[in-house]
Symmetry: C2
Subunit: 347 residues, 2 copies
Amino acid sequence: MANLYYSQESHGPFETYDLGDFDLEDGGRIRGLKLAYATFGALAPNKDNAILFPTWYSGTSKSLERAYVGPGRALDPDKYFIILVNQIGNGLSSSPHNAPVPFNGPRFPRVRIADDVRAQHRLITEKFGIEKLELVLGGSMGAQQTYEWAVRFPDVVKRAAPIAGAAKTAPHNRLLVETFIEAIASDPALDGGWYADPHAAHRGLRRHAKLFATSGFTHNLFNAAGWRALGFSSVDDFVIGFVENHFIQQDPNNLILQASKWQENDVSRIASGDLTKALSRITAKTFVIAIEEDGFFPLKDIAFEQAFTPNSKLKRVSSQWGHLALFGVDPGYNAQIDSHLRELLQS
Amino acid sequence: MANLYYSQESHGPFETYDLGDFDLEDGGRIRGLKLAYATFGALAPNKDNAILFPTWYSGTSKSLERAYVGPGRALDPDKYFIILVNQIGNGLSSSPHNAPVPFNGPRFPRVRIADDVRAQHRLITEKFGIEKLELVLGGSMGAQQTYEWAVRFPDVVKRAAPIAGAAKTAPHNRLLVETFIEAIASDPALDGGWYADPHAAHRGLRRHAKLFATSGFTHNLFNAAGWRALGFSSVDDFVIGFVENHFIQQDPNNLILQASKWQENDVSRIASGDLTKALSRITAKTFVIAIEEDGFFPLKDIAFEQAFTPNSKLKRVSSQWGHLALFGVDPGYNAQIDSHLRELLQS
């Protein structure tokens, strides 16, 4: 049964770039790796206006477009050539749900953030001939990819803005993501990932959504009924209509693959586990941006990594939406983030 | 199959007091309600040294004894007559797992915090002839009972110390507890509560334990590997050996009943939903104690209710163990809490 969520109708228009067979950090291989991406604006003749923005967990290029891209925004297509790239496993790029037999579903190979970044590097060089990126930015798992970009390709990344994310997944964060995976995996309808109906395990996805909501938003959002701004009538109405609705349309194996990448995220692998040494490779001018109320990636943890990042500043934004302000639902957050990104782009 | 966790061997010595048939706030009735309790110290001839301490979620009188009672502690049996009382549904007092057919298991009636407090009031008056309590205190769900005591029986409670809890469950907290319930209820082995083997649904209990650990401890406890203080070897070793081990021994229906009480907790029912009016009934000298790092009951929420509590002070303690510092595992927390309790008792 096809999953219409991952269609051009729902998330397009997007293009795909075929990288052929792609060997992975953990030893697997994706046959015919395809990266899906959407671009906005025009690449300047001297190719000095390109911005790369990879997706967060469960997001697509469409999610990023809606929340961050537009005339008058910091990411203005009138000025920049903006590439929104879909991480491996997100459903638009090669993913468990669209991989050909026998490497399909739960047999999709293990992928790391570094694989995404290496594949994205090939996309920008081979497809667009871009050698320098004015800015790499991303939120949450997008921040993981941003850090990996800045560490792995310091000569390419001129500016970096990891938002509400980490260079290396902290122990608490790893445990939190484990609860997300377990919420899905515990649904008997998942059948070890061999479900025939892509929506069979919706109960597990709904439990996962509730966990996501509990840590992803702030206590204060619920105390102040801030969800009313989106037109919902009650906490349940909001959790079902906004959060469950977001996840039940997606493929459980895709989400589990992304979550496992999230857990394993660690830029220090390039330096044999030495995080300080890995971060010292960064030459980009970097704004490490924290959401002060973030329940996934606390300010303290973000500041810890920023302190080891050369040429970086810690920038703070505040939102009662917490981590999930990333979604672009809070005009206050959007204005703060645009202000930081403008400052970075103009520097 | 009997559950040996709830035995005198594991949690005794404890006594039980039989209240006969007990009508509940929500319309049900417990036939032959038994409250289990343990006492320490001797009741003074003029009965002016009694302290009441009800249990938290999943705790027993033995948990409280180990963490808070002893010579040299604020709750010193050489000075005070300390009654540790087990909340309804905790497995020692009347509970789903020990209730006679047909009101057993998932057919155990709905219970509210106010039912506990009314039953406890009968225990102290009928069994011990106590008319004034020097102090009522409790952590988490024990704080809920403490607030209910102070609101419902202002003439009995001379001092109150709700620790890391709320007079009325906040919307976020309610959602969090819903995720706990769903983690258990989603285990097919629960069979709607009709499991024959009390440990059949251990997978759900283990998931529940992991959620509890994720919000109950702080990010920093994991970052700093603070669990090493308890002798564990890794995060997994700690989560399994400490948190899963705590819950898998308990009865799922008992936990779900307690959790539903937690969700419905609301002192304002006595004042037709007016929380300020309900809290204004309090005459006890009250220390509202918050754990600054608490992920279940944030400082801000606790301070909000304290502000409406007459004759009260907000007292803060700090622990990287977060909410679950209540368990008594952090000597620093124990010293801080004893200091506040001594100040309150001496006033």
